[in-house]
């Protein structure tokens, strides 16, 4: 178990085509299966609803953080965990995760890396510093938990 998910995929198309499929909100919607209400704009909220079969009544919400042409597209979205009651409650979800698409040209196409991070975000402003200087502590301890669970 880690606090982020990293995915890499090689696409047999030039970077500009991949970039376009990411930041054009209608194209994004086609493969992500979401109907977006407006184009993506840095600093702005993106709203819409899912079109994925069986999830049409799920809403989409994200905040665009970065659009660096041909290189990086980033947004954050609430970590609802697919909890529809929570989404529909109107109660703001304090934890948002960060989604980043990074594009690199490669021979014959584009390497796309997606990272979703922030699953370990702590909403509490007060955090104790005890054991903080234990470097790599988080990763190590999660490793311990994983070993325990797997064992």
């Amino acid at each position: 178990m880690t606090d982020s998910i990293v995915k890499t995929i090689d696409i047999n198309a030039p970077v500009d085509r991949v970039w376009n499929a990411l930041v054009d909100h209608e194209k994004f919607g086609a493969w992500f299966r979401v109907a977006l209400d407006q184009p993506f704009e840095v600093g702005k909220l993106s709203t819409g609803h899912m079109t994925y079969p069986g999830y049409e009544d799920y809403s989409w919400e994200a905040r665009v953080l970065a659009m660096e042409p041909m290189a990086r597209f980033a947004f954050e979205w609430p970590a609802t965990g697919g909890d529809k009651d929570l989404m529909d409650s109107g109660v703001p979800v304090p934890e948002w995760t960060l989604v980043e698409f990074v594009l690199e040209p490669m021979e014959g196409g584009t390497r796309l890396t997606v990272t979703e991070s922030g699953f370990d975000k702590v909403p509490e402003p007060r955090r104790t510093n005890v054991m903080r200087d234990n470097e790599g502590g988080w990763a190590e301890q999660v490793g311990n938990i994983r070993d325990y669970v797997a064992g």
Partner: protein, 110 residues
């Protein structure tokens, strides 16, 4: 503990995202019950601080509180850790499927 609290991954990961609380989880990972005093042993924090952290873990469904006589004990809920792992695995698989659709979309478009 309500079912909603158990199944809320945001709460669960927030609870895990603290070194002190992770330390408690690792300490409780042997499955044994411990008192607040035992859990706080060797830590330069107050009993109240320990209790507060344990309460965060309890609300996230990560530990369970039991009472025997006057003594309160805490024990790890292994299944909660497993829930977190399964949920991450689900998110992981969803990204696989989503990116496969992107690949097809880009490669098949004129």
């Amino acid at each position: 503990m309500s079912p909603a609290e158990q199944s809320d991954p945001a709460r669960l990961f927030a609870a895990l995202g603290d070194q002190t609380r992770l330390g408690f989880i690792v300490q409780l990972a042997d499955g044994r019950r411990r008192s607040i005093a035992q859990i706080g042993e060797d830590l330069p924090i107050s009993r109240q601080a320990v209790a507060k952290h344990l309460n965060v873990l309890r609300r996230a469904g990560l530990v369970q509180r039991t009472r025997s006589g006057r003594e309160v004990h805490f024990v790890l809920r292994r299944e909660a850790i497993e829930e977190a792992r399964l949920w991450l695995a689900k998110v992981d698989a969803q990204w696989d499927a989503t990116l496969a659709r992107l690949k097809i979309f880009v490669e098949d478009s004129p």
